[in-house]
């Protein structure tokens, strides 16, 4: 795998609006970050630290692997 072409995609928006159904603001408050950070994460503009990724996964009741996918850039 060529590292330059790898991109971290995520299902945060899908999971957030799915079974848990919480707003970006609520999720941000629960994991200890700002709403803008959740927005950037959902848009794929920012890659979170492992700690934040695990906190989000815990709040959404999924594993980090279910939330984040490492895929080749199109």
């Amino acid at each position: 795998m060529n590292d330059d072409k790898l991109k971290l995609k995520n299902n945060i928006r899908k999971m957030r609006r799915g079974k848990v159904d919480i707003t970006q603001e609520n999720l941000a408050a629960l994991v200890g970050c700002t709403r803008q950070t959740i927005f950037s994460l959902e848009k794929g503009k920012y890659n979170p630290s492992l700690v934040l990724a695990m906190k989000i996964a815990a709040v959404l009741g999924v594993t980090v692997n279910e939330l984040f996918i490492l895929s080749e850039e199109e």
């Binding site: 700002t34 803008q36 950070t37 927005f39 848009k43 503009k45 920012y46």
Partner: protein, 145 residues
Amino acid sequence: MSKKMKQSLFHFLLWFLVAVAFVIVFSSKGTIENWGDNKIKTVVIAFLFLVGLSGEFILRIIYRKKKNKIVVDERDEYITNKSLGAGYVITMLYIFILAITLYLKYESSGSVPVAWLWFIAYTLLIVANISSSAAALLCYWKSEK
């Protein structure tokens, strides 16, 4: 717009205004030739920097960390680090280009007027502040659009 982005915007505007006022004062007639005799201009420039630095201090107080309220998170810290790095490179490039330009301009006369050394000292602070806050604004704009 996040709080840190607002802080970067105000920081940029503050130092931009200081830069404009500084350039107006510095480019007025006779400043370079008679630097030592221009006591009023020296005081005006010192006052401008007092405004810039105290404004920055006030911004830090307004946007300081508060209990039970998230003002700064890991993305803000990431952007701050990135913008400081960009600001450092821009400031180094600025000093390099300015020093070379002054050398070329005054090579034949053999000496550089002392006013230019003050110019370098003052603008170093202005460029460092403006470039880092502009870089932060660019990073925020790219990640929040």
